[in-house]
């Protein structure tokens, strides 16, 4: 490791200090120029393997975008970069015009309006379904507010509403750990809804779901578009076809093609990558 890297690493550590600021940065989201997400020239290597290679991507406000691509194309790494989990080697990532995603820690990014659903469903297993939703609810994340927090009637209604939407009303007071795989997926989506983010990053939402369940998911995600921007990573082509307006194909860490599902399917390069033709 060179001296420079070390210094850079020290520099990055600095960010965590941001918790010393009294309040989280206000969600000064500026989307007047159209796109809500700008990703430009992002590169990230792991031990010489380029997970992201000069990737450029724009998402419009209110858009529903699907990301597809073979394994190792960089889809999950992209999500990691956007949520602050991974810092890229070079490149830019802006949320609206003002928020530099590469400088904010994970929790500030989440507070400013980017919600993420993981590939492997992660819910708080020891908490009940209700408590999972309560924690995710859009509200101040401060220590003292949490200590004195109490739900008001309106918030209670909101949780009930989401519970009904994700069909978990009956399990509301069961620990999330006992839910089935599909139910956990739903709970995680429900938590996302409670967070009320401007941009949803959804990683493989229908893995482990029955046909009926994934239809319902498709419906839900489609209905979210407009008010929210949604980026969906999915392998299930039928599912993608059922929701997609615009599809981006990732290959070897950069965008190979972009367009409607039909355009993508007729694209020669995509066929080559996917089918080896």
């Amino acid at each position: 490791m060179s001296m420079m890297d070390t210094l850079r690493e020290l520099g990055k550590r600095e960010e965590v200090f941001s918790f010393l600021q009294h309040a989280a940065p206000s969600p000064a989201l500026d989307t007047r120029h159209g796109p809500i997400l700008y990703v430009e020239g992002v590169t990230k290597s792991f031990d010489g393997f380029r997970a992201l290679d000069d990737l450029t991507l724009y998402i419009d406000d209110g858009e529903l975008r699907c990301l597809i691509g073979p394994n190792g194309a960089g889809k999950t790494t992209l999500m990691d970069v956007l949520t602050g989990k991974t810092r890229p080697d070079t490149g830019q990532a802006w949320f609206g015009q003002r928020l530099n995603l590469l400088e904010l820690p994970e929790h500030v990014i989440a507070q400013s309006g980017i919600g993420r659903k993981f590939q492997k469903p992660t819910v708080f297993e020891q908490l009940t379904v209700f408590e999972n939703l309560e924690l995710a609810m859009h509200a101040s994340r401060g220590l003292w507010t949490s200590l004195r927090w109490r739900l008001d009637g309106e918030q209670q209604d909101r949780i009930d509403e989401v519970l009904a939407l994700i069909s978990l009303t009956e399990q509301a007071h069961a620990p999330a750990g006992v839910l089935s795989h599909g139910q956990k997926q739903w709970l995680e989506i429900g938590s996302l809804l409670m967070q009320n983010p401007r941009l949803l990053l959804v990683d493989e939402p229908v893995a482990g779901m029955t046909g009926q369940e994934s239809e319902k998911t498709a419906e839900l995600l489609t209905s979210l578009a407009g008010k929210h921007s949604v980026v969906v990573v999915e392998h299930d082509m039928d599912f993608v076809r059922s929701i997609a307006r615009t599809v981006s194909v990732l290959h070897q860490g950069s965008v190979l093609a972009e367009g409607s599902m039909d355009e993508i399917q007729s694209d020669a390069r995509v066929r080559e990558v996917y089918l080896g033709e």
Partner: protein, 570 residues
């Protein structure tokens, strides 16, 4: 079947333990006997004469007496005679191994075998020990014998013996030997013996009345840069009550000043070198203590708080082997340490496997629970040891080849055990490296640790590999215990002192990285050795902990870390 034989072996081991601890032959417990054997082997003594004749024989014969005056005369006559063949007699006299029987035969006891031989004929004599008596010695006589032995040793053909003699004389030369020492110096070929002789001569000449001779002495000292002469030189530069210099000759004073400077320069180089080696040695001890942990914690991610107790068991196994040798094979006693190496490995590996099968394998998914359970195991192991061996430290007797000292450069010598432990550490590291990288077991271990499911799919039994890995890690800890037994006190709490340090080494080196542990252990050893004089031992240790904690802030993955895409998903 296998289980049965393990149990059998363990049962047998347990049965033998009390026997070895308390076994009592001719009024000596096993460890007392071991101590005596080691003590006697340390002195490289010839245990019988090759037959004496003529004047020597007639003088030695007169040792068969209770009269210390007579013995004093005998010693003086032997000194005047200066016959090298009387050396075994003098040594036996000095070590209280000389006896005489009712017939007036002078007998020498062999410390290793307990046999007696006739001092005059050199032949073995069968004699009952209750019929023997010892010549009476005063301390003054004893003091007189030692330089005499030293002088006689100088005639030996064996370099080590000559060196031992010169060493004695360099410390306590007798003025009347000056002439003979100069003769010997002229004949001596070995540089180290020559150096010691020069010191002895210089020490005598320093008191000479002739200033030429004193100057020569100071120059000799400057030449050999002997640190032990520094205070003598310094006293030359002092002034007496009247303010006059003790040394009247200015040239001698000047030479003494130069000599002191040369000595000091040598001393600082020597100190640096010995600190470095000593630090490496401390690091090697740390490494040996931590290596087993590096395997168990590093590869299996099992927090084994009983690791220190595995070291302790290794050390106690060495103790048992030592006692077995003392009891059953005293003639092979000096090799007990070599036998202890495989024994300690096997015993601790067995204990480790028992731990793994009995407790740890049920806790693989719960690291914090493993920590607590292994702590419980450590308490039980410690208390068991206390019940069997007692709460006191046991007596370890290092074999003679491991308890001397090694000369690194002129004036820098370190105890063999300190240097030996470095070599041993490298041996163990090489062994571990070989097993991990060149054997089927190592391959399977690495496969399982990287991807259990995949390895299992390829037909590797992860369960079995876990057991062997843990056993191997525990065995390596046992090897560490063998090394520790030669350096620190062996008691039930032995392991407790190493557990925190060992974890620090592994964490600092990067978990799962054995090479990292090697560097971090050696680095910590050298670092703390150099920090000690500045900050004091305890503060150095505290500073070290603080440094490690700060270091982990900066590089949580340790010195050598593999960067990977595998994230930190909770």
């Amino acid at each position: 079947m296998r289980g049965l034989s393990w149990k059998g072996a363990i049962l047998l081991g347990l049965l033998m333990v009390p026997a070895v601890v308390v076994a009592d032959t001719d009024g000596m417990s096993a460890d007392e006997r071991a101590e005596k054997l080691a003590e006697q082997q340390k002195k490289q003594t010839q245990t019988r004469t090759e037959g004496l004749s003529g004047e020597a024989a007639s003088i030695v014969e007169r040792l068969a007496t209770d009269d210390w005056q007579a013995i004093n005369d005998v010693v003086e006559e032997l000194e005047a005679l200066a016959a090298p063949e009387t050396l075994p007699v003098l040594q036996a006299l000095s070590d209280r191994r000389l006896y005489f029987d009712e017939q007036g035969r002078v007998l020498i006891e062999d410390p290793a075998t307990g046999e007696y031989s006739d001092a005059i004929t050199g032949e073995t004599v069968e004699v009952a020990s209750e019929n023997l008596s010892q010549p009476t010695l005063t301390n003054a006589i004893r003091r007189g014998i030692r330089p005499l032995i030293g002088q006689l040793q100088l005639f030996s053909d064996d370099v080590a013996t000559r060196r031992a003699g010169a060493e004695e004389l360099a410390d306590r030369p007798r003025p009347e030997m000056l002439g003979r020492l100069k003769e010997l110096r002229a004949e001596e070929s070995n540089p180290e013996v020559l150096r010691l002789l020069n010191i002895a001569i210089a020490r005598l000449q320093l008191d000479a009345s002739d200033s030429e001779e004193r100057l020569e002495a100071v120059e000799v000292i400057a030449d050999v840069r002997s640190a032990r002469m520094k205070s003598e030189l310094e006293s030359l530069l002092e002034t007496d009550a009247q303010g006059d210099p003790v040394e009247p000759d200015a040239a001698v004073r000047e030479a003494a000043r130069d000599a002191i400077e040369a000595i000091e320069e040598r001393q600082s180089t020597a100190r640096f070198l010995s600190d470095l080696v000593y630090g490496l040695s401390m690091g090697s001890v740390l490494l040996l203590a931590a290596l087993g942990l590096a395997i168990i914690f590093g590869l299996m991610r099992v927090i084994n708080m009983a690791h220190g107790e595995l070291l302790m068991i290794g050390a106690y196994t060495t103790f048992i082997v030592q006692n077995l040798f003392a009891l059953m094979a005293p003639q092979w006693f000096s090799f007990y340490l070599l036998a202890a190496i495989p024994a300690a490995f096997v015993v601790t590996a067995l204990v480790g496997i028992l731990m793994e099968r009995g407790v740890i394998r049920f806790l693989y998914a719960r690291p914090l629970e493993t920590l607590l359970a292994t702590w419980g195991i450590s308490l039980i192991l410690m208390q068991t040891t206390r019940v069997i061996f007692g709460a006191q430290n046991v007596r370890m007797a290092s074999p003679e080849w491991f308890s001397g000292s090694v000369q690194l450069m002129q004036g820098v010598s370190l105890s063999t055990s300190r240097v030996g432990v470095i070599a041993f550490a490298f041996f163990v590291v090489a062994l571990v490296w070989f097993v991990m990288n060149r054997t089927r077991l190592g391959l399977e271990v690495r496969a399982v640790m990287q991807n259990r499911e995949m390895a299992a799919a390829l037909g590797v039994s992860a369960n079995r590999v876990d057991m062997w890995t843990f056993g191997a890690g525990a065995g390596v800890a046992g090897l560490g215990g063998v090394a520790l037994s030669q350096i620190v006190n062996v008691g039930p709490e032995l392991g407790q002192n190493y557990i925190v340090d060992s974890f620090m080494v592994v964490v600092l080196g990067g978990v799962g990285n054995i090479l990292g542990s090697v560097f971090s252990a050696l680095g910590l050893g050298v670092f703390s050795k150099f920090l000690e004089p500045v900050a004091g031992a305890v503060l150095a240790k505290i500073l070290l902990f603080v440094a490690i904690i700060v270091f982990i802030q900066w590089r949580p993955q340790g010195i050598f870390a593999l960067k990977g895409r595998a994230g930190d998903d909770d």
